[in-house]
Amino acid sequence: MGIDTTSIWAGIIFFAVFMYVVLDGFDLGIGMLYPFVKDRRERDIMMNTVAPIWDGNETWLVLGGEGLLLAFPVAYSIILSGLYLPLIFMLIGLIFRGVAFEFRFKANDRERPIWDLAFIGGSVTAAFFQGVSLGAFLSGIPVSGRSYAGGPFDWLAPFPLAAGAGVMIAYTLLGSTWLIMRTEGELQQRMIRLARPFGLLMLAAIVGASIWTPLAQHQVAERWFSFPNLLFLAPVPLLVAGAIVLLMWSLKRDPFRLPFIAALALVLLGYTGMAISIWPHVVPPAITIWEAASPPATQGFALVGTLFVLPFILMYTVWSYWVFRGKISGKEGYH
């Protein structure tokens, strides 16, 4: 054969989770930006920039989950059982956040604050516990045999909690730059003012993670600082610096699409950096993708359809974004 379906599946899951992080990232970021905007009409506009697309954005999370199940069943079992509580909290956050999209517009004036709160609280909870899960995952998941060997509260440690904060920062930055692109006037100005501090916090988070992970885990240090890896990986920090400069410059000079693109670049770099750190493990530090792989009959069967269908998904997703393109203003007689 010569085709390593296991690596391809690792790539597909990497891609699906990245799509999720970026797309639902700005959705969740909007929820976390709600406390900075009090006016009801402005909140309507913020929500309406993502109302037609949030469901599709969230679907990438389901694809990531089911991809993991089919291609690496034992990893799915260990990771989801091991990160039990953070994932349950995340799911409950996503429930409150998700229904708020519809309920908020169905509520009367007395009830609306409840769904504003559900939108904020759900977004914060989901983002934070995604970060906690990520942090706990990167810190390593204790395994004995083929099951999880840690305790239910292993994630209550400095690194996962810091990662929770990091993901909140990243999503808020994505949310603010998305809104810069999709809104105008006073709301857009406020987002520009907010994007600056969140950009700097994002830089701090990336620098912090880059120092903390190699110090805590010698495998990561080896991966990044051994020769010749160092040579190949040297551009990563340079690209991060470039993206930050682009973000700050564009916020000042050209606050339209560029800030969002710069924020995307930052998230992509941070995300790729993590993947480089753990490769080729699917349950760090113990299980590699090949050790966890499902049989070729499974990976092959699923791969054929996935490679066929994914381009169509991307096409109609782009189309639906295109239908709802442009600035959203309050003039069209929103609720």
Binding site: N48, A51, V62, L70, L80, N108, D109, R146, T306, Y334
Partner: protein, 474 residues
């Protein structure tokens, strides 16, 4: 002792989250197809009632769909968080089926949902209809994959066990496993029936309050046609499903009939009432119709089926639960047929919309479809016990190893979140129903210029009749 408690909590959590979830897809599947039909009728006839009804049900669909999405994500993750060993053992087979559901159904629904809900003025009428149809198609594709996966767990084939996991051998056999076609048709029809009863009940509620509008009458008429034609078909499909189950899961049938042992060549009665007892191995206070059990189950005058006593004690599903859940489902099904026939009889006399006892029954039957769906799923899932993959993997071996405290915490959170969120959600759905269909004024949106989006003349969230209907609007 403690392990047992944890397993029970995990099972309660699955049953609770699943039971809530299935209500939403059942209505989503039915309403999506109904909306497609309404939009086709509108484009063909240009009659205002259809566009009014489309936008009335679209709002309800949106709320219902949102609840289905968020409760569905929980299900996708629960296989790993709570049923880790099942996922590890059988994930190589169920995984691709669920992944194909995401790829061919969830994305399709989500990708076109935005245009369906908010795109009326942004795309042309043909493209909008296309979006509605894609969403409807997505709901049916989703049902196909998930029922394929569930049916395979009920009647597994096309696999072998290598080491400590199941390995696929023949995908066609896996997908088209023996119970799949019956379960797929039975559940899809159940979704249409649940929706028809819900739509019919909404119309009946308005008619009983004297809000007799053409749109309301159309609603009632369409719902009753659906019921008249489909409810009897469902009875036939259900019968075939039962015969199929008898062949592949005889213990389930014995349990749901409360049948413990054969006595000589005596034909089986159909029990209408009884209290099956797992300890005493008998069905107490049994009241039945002689011979009818044989006729229904074996389609012969004096056929017999295996009694529960022929299965080891450890392999018997709980008869008390499935005996009654099955009877609730069948009883409601018979009431549905009756309602459909009554409606047809009144329709001939032109009295369907103003016969109050009939309207009252239609109103009270509103939730009957959903209750029957729940009862049916309880029957088939409890009836599969003690197996999670029938005959291969026991439920007790399938769970992740969590402490009872952890599971009690997550279950408590789910119960509180679900009761609040979905309680309010269902209240919002009923509030929308109460408003009734309104005249939709933007039936013919202006064309945008070439390359331009059409004028975004409407709000971007699903539109609602404005302030007049708000209880305390500004």
């Amino acid at each position: 002792m403690f392990g047992l408690a944890a397993l029970d909590l995990a099972r309660i959590q699955f049953a609770f989250t699943m039971s809530f979830h299935i209500l939403f897809p059942a209505i989503t599947i039915g309403l999506a197809s109904y909306l497609a039909v309404l939009e086709i009728c509108w484009l063909k006839t240009k009659r205002q009632v259809f566009v009014d009804l489309y936008h009335f049900w679209l709002r309800i669909f949106a709320v219902n769909f949102g609840m289905g999405v968020v409760s569905g994500i929980v299900m996708a993750y629960q296989f790993g968080t709570n049923w880790g060993y099942f996922s590890e053992f059988a994930g190589s087979i169920t995984g691709p089926l669920l992944a194909y559901e995401v790829l061919t159904a969830f994305f399709l629904e989500a990708g076109f949902l935005g245009v369906m809900l908010f795109g009326w003025t942004r795309v042309g009428p043909g493209l909008h209809l296309f979006a509605t149809c894609m969403v409807a198609l997505g709901t049916l594709i989703s049902a196909t994959w998930i029922l394929g996966s569930n049916s395979w767990m009920q009647t597994p084939q096309g696999y072998e066990i290598v080491g400590n996991r199941m390995v696929p051998v023949d995908w066609l056999k896996i997908i088209f496993n023996p119970s799949f076609p019956y379960r797929l048709v039975h559940m899809s029809i159940a979704a249409f029936l649940s929706t028809a009863l819900f739509v019919g009940a909404s119309a009946a509620w308005h008619l009983l309050r004297g809000r007799d509008k053409p749109a309301v009458r159309t609603m009632l008429s369409m719902a009753m046609w659906m019921l008249l034609i489909v409810a009897p078909i469902q009875a036939l499909v259900g019968d075939m499903h039962g015969i199929n189950t008898l062949k592949h899961q005889p213990a389930k049938i014995a349990a749901l009939e409360g049948h413990w042992q054969n006595e000589g060549d005596k034909p089986l009665p159909l029990l209408l009432f009884g209290i099956p007892s797992m300890e005493d191995e008998e069905t107490r206070f049994a009241v039945g119709i002689p011979r009818l059990g044989s006729i229904i189950l074996t389609h012969s005058w004096d056929g017999q089926i295996k009694g529960l006593k022929e299965f080891p004690r450890g392999d018997r599903p709980n008869s008390l639960i499935v005996f009654w859940s099955f009877r609730v489902m069948v009883g409601l099904g018979l009431l549905m047929i009756a309602l459909g026939v009554w409606g047809a009889w009144l329709r001939r006399k032109g009295r369907m919309h103003d016969t109050r006892p009939f309207l009252r029954m239609a109103m009270w039957m509103g939730p009957a479809g959903l209750v029957a769906v729940l009862a049916g799923w309880i029957t088939t899932e409890v009836g599969r016990q003690p197996w999670v993959v029938y005959g291969v993997l026991r439920t007790a071996d399938a769970a992740s190893k969590h402490g009872a405290g952890t599971l009690a915490l997550s279950l408590g959170l789910f119960v509180m979140a679900y009761l609040f969120v979905f309680g309010v959600g269902i209240a919002y759905v009923l509030r929308l129903v109460r408003k009734g269909p309104q005249t939709f004024e933007n039936a013919h949106p202006p064309d945008g210029g070439p390359g331009q989006g059409r004028t975004p003349a409407r709000p971007l969230s699903v539109p609602e009749p404005e302030a007049a209907d708000r209880q305390d609007g500004p």
